[in-house]
Amino acid sequence: MRELREMKATWIIAVFGILFTLAGPSVLELFTIITLAQVIGLSILALSLALVWGFGGILCFGQTAFFGLGAYAYVIAAINFGGSSWAILVAMLVAAAFAAILGYFVFYGRVSDVYLAVITLTVTLILYSLIRRTSGPEYKIGNALLGGFNGISAPPLNYPWDASAFLFPEQVFYVAMLALIIAYVFCSWLVRTHFGRVCVAIRENEDRAELLAYDTRLYKLGIFTVGAAIAGLGGIFFCIGVSRVTPDVFSLPQSALTIIWVIVGGRGTLIGPILATFALYYLTSALGSQSVLNTNLVLGTILIIFVLGVPKGVVPAISDLMQSRRGRKALRARERRLQRRRPSSTHNATTTEGAE
């Protein structure tokens, strides 16, 4: 429980999240509330990549594969079960199981990070072309027609174990926000546990972690699988938000966007990518509504600028800046104190500064 006490910043952010959840429906319009469910789903996806990439050091370009599989599994299960309660569980399990199998091959094959990026991306693209071709009536799982290019319309969320009582958009918003906050607190807790610390150690230096007798393959597989389950959860809310799941969840632009959110928000933080998702989602929809600048053009430029100019991302860059300013301020205050005490030997005081 030591971890829970250490998470002061997390709790503060969670409280802000809860306030936003409670205030949202009375401040925002209904339309915004409906689209927000979709953005929350995407931000859970960004959170999962922030965990896997930012803390696990696993460069997964295909996080959307688990996101999309979660969405598809939810829809198919909900149609077959006639209710959404178990479908949520099934969706997360399917995403996690797929990640566990894929992860077994790549981590136990000791595929290096760059190869891993390409393999995960390829898996996503193959899923894309596979699902797109399932338009015929012969492609169905249980009662759910896969629908190829058009996808499947998603059944709405319902109250637990009462399939006829659907949730209203406001209630979907509450549930989605709750899921986001719980996932965020969970990730924040996970990276502070022994398991999370070992994952960070592996990110920093895999050989050294291995020499300390940690089975790095197992830890990587673990965080990869957990990340996939969270991505699957994001997929559920995304498809409920758009009330449909289409093969586009597996498309290349979607994978690129996910990477961009994490890069812009910052690797090594959890809240950064979530905020970046909200900000960039509204930026891209604003760009989509005008026709001067192409969205891809802008996103590509953002990605290049961040890789070359702000490789750590916005949130770590700001906190670095604040820390260095605080540090400088403390240093100046200290120098002033020393000067007052020994007005004649300023030079001497600053040199001992470095030695301390």
């Binding site: 390409v118 990477i259 430029t301 990605l303 490789p311």
Partner: protein, 289 residues
């Protein structure tokens, strides 16, 4: 018998197609350890070069065989100077920056030519008959030109001074630079060569597939998986991986239809990488080029 020949022809075509779309990527990856995620867009730009040139009255063969590698090679050199050269040795950042580049190209081409298919060009050359089956003559031409291209790349790397210097630079850049080689120029030319080969491939495929701003995504998954499965050796890797994966793809596609063909290709590649994490040429044919 005719059926068998026709099937074998199809499988060989799938193999040649894989080798063709992967070669440019393999050159850049094998020589420079740069994974170019904008590879699909280099192919796309090659296709657009052909379409624009033929629409302006250029002979289709000149457009495909000369203009597309030239134009895309130049674009490659510009990209190397403006972007890639700041990122050598930072593999992950290169990956991300080239992905940004890929989006940038898609956006740029969409803004210029629109999101839908530009005027298509019909494949030159007629049909060939194998007994009672017919096949496209252009496909036969593609198989031939892929083999020629592989031989040409081999000759350039093995027989010319430029190839020798380039291989030396890739093995030990400091030593090459101590011997008076301008390594930065070699990197630029190698990237340009890879881009030119990608452009040629894109140009060659344009009459079959048509061109779209997003056509790169069709190729990119297959090209990457082929190059990664092949490993570091450019020619041996690309050829062996294309043969293996192309055969799997071709056979499964023939038996079950194209949907499962690509899945089988991917599964074969993942199992291959579990057994040989450094690709085929990481385990066998290690000394090859």
């Amino acid at each position: 018998m005719d059926l068998l020949v026709s099937i074998i022809f199809q499988i060989v075509y799938v193999i040649a197609n894989l080798a063709l779309i992967s070669l440019g990527l393999a050159i850049i990856f094998g020589m420079m350890r740069v994974i170019n995620l904008a590879h699909g867009e280099f192919l796309m730009l090659g296709g657009y070069t052909v379409v624009v040139a033929t629409n302006n009255g250029v002979n289709i063969w000149i457009a495909i065989l000369i203009l597309s590698p030239l134009v895309v090679g130049l674009i490659g050199i510009i990209v190397e100077r403006l972007l890639i050269r700041f990122l050598y040795g930072r593999m992950v950042d290169t990956l991300l920056a080239t992905w940004g580049l890929s989006l940038l190209f898609i956006g740029l081409i969409t803004s210029i030519f629109g999101a839908s298919t530009a005027t298509t060009i019909s494949p030159p050359l007629g049909v060939i008959t194998i007994g009672e089956y017919t096949s496209s003559g252009y496909e036969l031409f593609l198989i031939g030109i892929t083999i020629l291209l592989l031989i040409a790349v081999f000759l350039v790397l093995k027989m010319t001074t430029l190839g020798l210097v380039a291989r030396g630079t890739m093995q030990n850049a400091e030593m090459a630079s101590a011997l008076g080689v301008s390594t930065s120029r070699i990197y630029m030319l190698t990237f340009g060569l890879g881009a030119a080969v990608s452009g040629l491939a894109g140009g060659l495929l344009a009459p079959i597939t048509g061109v779209l701003p997003t056509i790169g995504t069709v190729y990119i998954a297959k090209a990457f998986i082929t190059v990664i499965s092949g490993g570091m050796a450019i020619l041996a890797g690309t050829t062996s991986a294309s043969i293996l994966l192309g055969a799997v793809n071709g056979v499964v596609s023939f038996v079950t239809g194209p949907t499962l063909g690509e899945v089988a290709l991917l599964l074969a590649a993942i199992i291959l990488l579990r057994l040989m994490p450094r690709g085929i040429t990481g385990s066998i044919f290690r000394k090859s080029l």
